[in-house]
Symmetry: C2
């Protein structure tokens, strides 16, 4: 079986990406975690109780006012090591090919991750949180308050995952 | 009170944004909704049972394999009409100023919205969903399966909102 860490495995399908980007992102901070390589990262964020640190750039620190009142945050970050051109993927721990939009893999046209974290401490531009699984140094894109009323759907089902 | 629809209100604070972007995004489709102006948009997505349509570009349609088995999706989209330089904001329906990262306002350094939707129908590259509140024609950035195990926190609290 073809098994290239950053390459394509059997059955995976790559597309040609557009020639130009449509919009631009600012990195607004960095995420500090205990994990320096992909193999060290937990397979999903609920596997680890590690406290990670979100460090917001001083330029944006004023935007944190009120964040300390939130029990949970939605964190968007940029998975900057991932290729962007696969539409069908075979993650190593699954047998079948799945579409990129049916997976939480970092490999996707816009490698934006969305993770729900529990806020442990807010200390100026530094937030201590539990619930991340990314590499140390990952660029931060956004922080949002997590509203249970709109963001929590406890009975949601991912059929391919439940039935595999 | 200063009240400029796309401008700054009293007490709001703007920063100078960086000279250059750090990363680029592809628009991978469009979202079709019944709302043509900001005033028509529901104040939050739970206010409306309107069925909206997510149209994925043909280039990425192969990435939808397996999405039809999901009851709910996390949709990331680009709020392309919003200014990006406010760190303190006074949304019209709140009295106090809040930091951008304590709000779900479209105004933020990276105007990426994250909405949980219920999947009603998957028809090739067109998904019918309930739970969006954005303008018609909004650019799509990403679709992800919603996993209750990691994404649902029913007891999460946004203190400033609960106690206001």
């Amino acid at each position: 079986m073809a098994e290239d860490l950053y390459g394509i495995r059997d059955g995976e399908v790559a597309i040609e990406l557009p020639d130009a980007f449509d919009a631009g992102l600012y990195f607004i901070g960095r995420i500090h975690t205990p994990w320096k390589t992909r193999d060290e990262c937990p397979k999903n964020a609920r596997e680890s109780e590690a406290v990670c640190t979100i460090e917001v750039d001083p330029r944006y620190a004023g935007a944190l006012k009120g964040v300390e009142t939130c029990s949970h945050l939605l964190v968007l970050y940029w998975m900057d090591r991932a290729r962007r051109d696969l539409v069908l993927q075979s993650p190593r721990h699954y047998q079948e090919h799945r579409g990129t939009f049916a997976l939480r893999s970092p490999v996707r046209p816009n490698p934006i991750a969305a993770s729900v974290v529990r806020l442990v401490k807010a200390d100026g531009p530094r937030l201590s949180v539990v619930g991340l699984d990314c590499l140390d140094g990952t660029p931060l894109l956004d922080l949002k308050p997590y509203f249970a009323s709109t963001d929590a759907v406890p009975d949601a089902v991912v059929g391919w995952h439940t039935n595999r």
